[in-house]
């Protein structure tokens, strides 16, 4: 029989709603430990009432996004060693979204803005039409390829200053998705999507801080996509087609 005494370290975790507070737990420090491991340990061994989200735990789904030591991150992909530089952790829910409880946020406003930016493909072909032929090396398809991998984790949204300052700003993820559809030659939304991203709170509200690009776990550049939207909107406005 082995007596194990793990060294512990202090972890502050947000509890409650918007008017909640941080609660401290002492969590065993283990090798190669991720922040998700820490949260899971607290919920399983210290306080079963802790609410949090995760799914794949391997950095594919984006469900485990939280604010760790002030920065939005995927907790399953964040090693404690990399962020607990002073030996402590502070874990809070994602910023800029309503808190449901503890580390769980309401993602509805995030996806409502996605819809408001017309981030949805509008088909034009029918089953009677031939397949669309899109050259993979074409400029438009390459523009889509560079930004299509977004999985809607909201880390960029939580990191964006303009989202914080301007409640109706559509945000980096919604605009990034709209840009992929603007470049999709099969899509039929056309001008209505440009109008959606040119409205108050649209692409022109971006100040190019690039917090989104820096924080995106998939290394996308919503800033680049938004710059593309600004160009497309400006051109349409000057041509009178907006």
């Amino acid at each position: 029989m082995r007596v194990m005494t793990d060294a512990t370290f202090p972890v502050r975790i947000w509890r409650g709603g918007a008017d909640g507070a941080f609660e401290q737990f002492d969590v065993p420090r283990r090798a190669s430990q991720t922040v998700l491991d820490v949260v899971t340990h607290v919920q399983r061994h210290l306080d079963a009432s802790l609410a949090y989200r995760y799914a794949c735990r391997v950095g594919m789904c984006g469900s485990c996004a939280m604010t760790v030591n002030g920065k939005a991150r995927w907790t399953c992909r964040t090693h404690v060693d990399a962020v607990a530089t002073d030996g402590t952790l502070e874990i809070a829910p994602l910023s800029h979204l309503p808190i449901v409880r503890d580390l769980v946020v309401d993602m509805a406003p995030f996806f409502d803005k996605w819809a408001a930016a017309k981030g949805r493909f509008q088909p034009t072909a029918t089953r009677n039409d031939d397949f669309a032929k899109v050259a993979p090396a074409s400029a438009k398809r390459r523009a889509i390829d560079a930004t299509i991998e977004c999985i809607g984790c909201a880390v960029c949204y939580a990191s964006c200053d303009v989202v914080e300052w301007k409640p109706d700003y559509l945000g980096p993820a919604a605009l990034n998705r709209a840009w992929t559809l603007v470049n999709d030659v099969r899509d039929g939304a056309g001008v209505s999507r440009l109008r959606a991203v040119a409205s108050e709170g649209g692409c022109q509200s971006c100040h190019t801080h690039q917090s989104c690009t820096r924080s995106c776990p998939k290394h996308l550049s919503p800033t680049g996509s938004i710059a593309g939207l600004k160009r497309a909107v400006a051109q349409a406005a000057l041509k009178g087609t907006l």
Binding site: E200, Q204, S205, V233
Partner: protein, 110 residues
Amino acid sequence: MRYAAWRFVLQRGSAAVLALCVIVHLATIIYAVRHALSAEAIVARMHATAFWPSFYTLFVVAVAIHAPLGLRTIADEWLALRGRATDTVLALFALVLLGGGLYAVASLAG
């Protein structure tokens, strides 16, 4: 709805004009100081050709577009002031800048 797009185009356009105007303006200031031009000499040069009055009129118009639009964004993001009332105040400010600026140009070159 599309006014946001137009505000963006005007802001970028006026910014490009201002970048040029500011450089020229700084150059003229440095020139005037280096050559110890008196106020009378400067006014005389403003009257000499149509170029300087035209240049400064363009400068004034660009400022009257650019400054209120910039303040609109600052009021929105930092003071949470947005909507019709804010836009009206800023539009009046644009007129003040335009009127005051054109008055200055006319005084020096008219």
